[in-house]
Subunit: 230 residues, 2 copies
Amino acid sequence: MTTARPPLRERKKRRTREALIDTALELFTSKGFAHTTLDELCDTVDVSKRTFFRNFVSKEDVAMAPTQDLWTAFLGELRVREPTGEPLLALLRDILLAAVDAMPDGWASRVVLSRKLAQTTPSMNAHGLDFCDRTTRAALEILRDRVDLADDLRPRLALDIGVAAFHVALERWVSGAGEPSHAALSAALRNAFEAVPTSLTLIATPRVSNTHDPRVQQNGPVSSTNPSRG
Amino acid sequence: MTTARPPLRERKKRRTREALIDTALELFTSKGFAHTTLDELCDTVDVSKRTFFRNFVSKEDVAMAPTQDLWTAFLGELRVREPTGEPLLALLRDILLAAVDAMPDGWASRVVLSRKLAQTTPSMNAHGLDFCDRTTRAALEILRDRVDLADDLRPRLALDIGVAAFHVALERWVSGAGEPSHAALSAALRNAFEAVPTSLTLIATPRVSNTHDPRVQQNGPVSSTNPSRG
DNA sequence: GACGATAGTGCCACTGAGTGGCATAAGCGT
DNA sequence: ACGCTTATGCCACTCAGTGGCACTATCGTC
């Protein structure tokens, strides 16, 4: 059933890597990031600390691997997809959706653990944001090479806006109830991208009094993360 | 001329803090971030390492202080400014401009050093992005408390888009030639915010051949960072 | 199935960031 | 001058991350 058999040697390496990721997520989640030492992690997986650092650049890195896998897939898809003259932002959205689709089973639950850890561990969040930032720049390089783009600041801006939509979608998806699914994430993504245009003109209405007024603006797209289209 | 005299004790603390920042920027720039130890820095400023960590949370933190000062001013301005029913994005832009104006002399050159360091030091960039992210969340809290906002994902999105514009402006400003000035940064900021709406509909035109075509879209706002309005 | 070549791994010593605790000194009010 | 508060210095300690080298397991080749 497997279309290709990976070189028998790399499988071991990959297994070690995945064991490190899973065990790290487990330990970090149960004991806390700061209260888990790398010695502990390596001892559990039964590898040396030296091996750990050949697989990951830092303690934070191992726990952010799931998200990074998505961004790597994103860049891969960006390199091969034939653009059809659509708006850049729509292109980004579609490539992100494709990247999500390409993630293997079990990815969703891992990335949720990863993001929840990042929410409570500044250094992990920082590491993730940096990786994302680097990915954005790489994406811009690829785009400039493959399509005609204005040479001003707008392509970069469009990319960053797409990333912002992604972040918002991811956060909503992560904090959503129930078993995390690819479909729910896709829906959240569509939702976030759809909300971009109207968010530009969103008005900040001054409060009439300092008591909380339950009345809110109601002219936006659906606000929940429920999959309106799976 | 100074409107208020700060408590004579804090001045010493502030002086130490500023000495640490300036010396850190100098050492990091000349010797490289990784090749400068905290012992070295503390030895130069003649304080103990313990004192350093009472002023800054990490080695990265000290070098990012100039940017963080801006964000702190941003939050302060956000807390006091009376919104007038303008679009949220315009409000953010104006508050950012006000925050830039509020920065003291010498800030510009410091922040340029800081940002250039961040460009070559991943952990510094990561730290800066994380601080920015936290600031954005804090800003959203303040906004929700002060103005009526839709309770969907759009306010957050608008905020993130504003931050994206800021980042683009900052990067262009930093890489600009000549002595960095507040006016140039303000102009870059206006420029970036102005470019947001058109960047949404920016088309990714497929290349006709794989040779580079110099023809590019030309319908955007001015692309350079020259101060069209100081 | 034995052969070097080429990985990936384990072990060990080491640097340096970051922390906790406690004594000390420097501002501050009276 | 008197305590009270607050910042600082000093010291020992943990742990993330690195460099070097020996070792072992895979791979290609015969």
